[in-house]
Subunit: 368 residues, 2 copies
């Protein structure tokens, strides 16, 4: 499962995995794929340094990447406290009321939330980049918009290609103009931030729009057959995120969440602004329903919504409040029904890919 | 491009085309595909008979099918006038006001609307079936739900397989239980009535759910690469609808509509209830916007909405009122940029399919 891009990056398979968990990223890289560690959950750069050290000792020189978040809408020059002050009291009240309705306990004294808004601020992303450039990362990805020109230049000076996510052809063209090297076409069915155009249509549109830049297909991929589909659409690789959430190496905050993911069907996700203020696909829960409800105050724009709900999400996860418990995940959650090591997933993906290619050859009459 | 199903149906390619235009259906069949004529626009059965006679003389014994609409929600035992009477006056007023805002002229005296609600009524669908069974149609498809048991039995007695559209695995399982032979998995990106699950995820889910029944992938397919993707996902064929709208053989009511389709991008469609009362993907227009507007009365349930807007749609089409002019179409509209004969489209589809398979073989290292 080798494309020009995977060869260039030194991976055996054109199989890219985005994950917030170093153990997953390293296992994927060791299994012949290309692990991409998401940095958004790191508030402090020393935590990132610790985990990149760990990655170095657990990937044995095989390639991996780092994904940072530099938001399109900058919140530069303001402190987290100043951003906090922009949140209307009515919204805070709604969070308190909703948590109270489900008897969600307060966080213990001195214990903070896991997910922090700070990961979404450019200053934080820049301090993460300062760390990242000390390591031999082979790819730098940015989940929201093109990174600033100086970041792209700095990466290029170190020989690191830069990837950026796009939900439309126009979005992808802007990335190309900004000097991006690889576009990740993120379809409607993907977990996390998505646009409205499905992978089947988006992938070839983006391939055409940014030619000759390589494109990765993200969204709707959890099997080797889906990888074959992505590559048939012209992608130079598949970018998978959701599927790693139920691997043995994933460190989800809560067993209850793992069980929810294993039980969910393809129809159990929703594109909601509840998590960050921008539409992001996630498990549909009574929490996302509360933000759609006509009785609610509606969601706030990014980054306010993320800041508003950060502590609530930590409490929901810590106490495993089942009806509210969710996570970003794509529509392939319906096929995530067993917990397995990353290597077993990769083996199944490559076998499924080969099966699909053999089937297509039969249909095409190749070799007959 | 042959699968077990296309062989069984006697078609050269596993390429199914749904179209309301006999000239398109016949041209597709002659080009080696399998044309499926949509019957919903036929109010009177003698018009259908006339067009099936025409199909017979223009397909030269090659296979074609018929698609009828038997709504899940029956409106049996009531007349069209009685259904009309269920429409609130406020909704009629909103239609009148919206048309007036755009200076849409009245229909000329004695000229009716083209699209009729009657095509959505079971009694009408049954009279169409009485006609269809007089012809050697090779497939009977139903666009909404499973047809009644007696219709399936009658088709089977005549050796005609029955296909039904599904937007979810559960929906597909109900079809299988009802005795359906072929399931058309209609993804979110498709034109017309769609669910929320994209083809990339829906197709393999439906394949698993109804195994060993054959599944066709619908939604997001307008190139040979997309056909390869659909078949990689386990489908026994691709079901294309939108792409025929801009073929030379298509008989759209209006040139302005053709130009709008050729100019539209993938982001210019919307899933709206404005046309029928159920979510159907179509060109986004100021008409669909009017039905989303908070100032509007909202849409009515099927079949009332279709009845409410039928005459308005005819007037909009007749007078080519550009900002309001729309049609059901999928997200592939962004790649429909030239008007060509059906045969040229089919040639490009089969060439694109072969190209995609060759590319996958290179990636898989087959033959290397």
């Amino acid at each position: 499962m080798q494309t020009e891009l995977s060869r260039q990056l030194g991976a055996e398979h054109a199989l890219f995995g985005f994950t917030p968990f170093p153990a997953v990223a390293a296992a994927l890289t060791r299994a012949g794929g290309f692990g991409v560690l998401g940095a958004v959950r790191y508030g402090a750069s020393d935590e990132l340094r610790r985990d990149l050290d760990w990655m170095e000792t657990h990937t044995g020189g095989l390639p991996y990447g780092l994904d940072v978040v530099m938001p399109a809408k900058k919140v530069e020059g303001v402190t987290e406290a100043e951003v906090e002050a922009m949140i209307p009291e009515g919204h805070r009240q709604y969070v308190r009321e909703t948590l109270a309705k489900y008897d969600v306990p307060e966080m213990p004294e001195g214990e903070g939330g896991g997910w922090r808004i700070t990961g979404w601020m450019e200053s934080v992303a820049r301090s993460q980049l300062d760390v990242a450039f000390d390591y031999p990362v082979k790819l730098l990805a940015n989940a929201l918009g093109s990174p600033p020109a100086d970041v792209i230049e700095r990466a290029h000076r170190q020989g690191i290609p830069v990837a950026a996510l796009a939900g439309s052809a126009r979005h992808a063209e802007r990335h190309k103009a900004a000097g991006i090297d690889i576009v990740v076409a993120q379809g409607y069915e993907a977990g996390g931030h998505t646009g409205e155009i499905a992978s089947m249509v988006l992938t070839p549109e983006v391939v055409r729009a940014v030619d000759p830049l390589p494109v990765l297909c993200a969204g709707g991929i959890g099997s080797g057959e889906q990888i074959a589909a992505a590559l048939a659409l012209g992608a130079q690789g598949a970018w998978l995120g959701s599927i790693w959430l139920t691997t043995s190496e994933a460190e989800l905050h809560s067993r209850a969440l793992t069980h929810k993911l294993l039980a969910a069907g393809a129809g159990d996700t929703v594109r909601s602004r509840a998590l960050t203020g921008k539409p992001a696909r996630q498990l549909r829960t009574e929490w996302t329903d509360a933000w759609e409800s006509p009785e609610g105050p509606g969601t706030l724009p990014m980054p306010l919504q993320g800041l508003l709900v950060a502590e609530a999400n930590s409490r929901i996860q810590k106490y495993e409040v089942e009806p509210l418990l969710g996570t970003p995940v794509g529509q392939i959650v319906g096929s995530m029904n067993t917990e397995r090591p990353v290597r077993a997933v990769v083996d199944e993906l490559t076998r499924g890919f080969e099966r699909a290619v053999a089937r297509l050859n039969t249909i095409a009459g190749v070799g007959s």
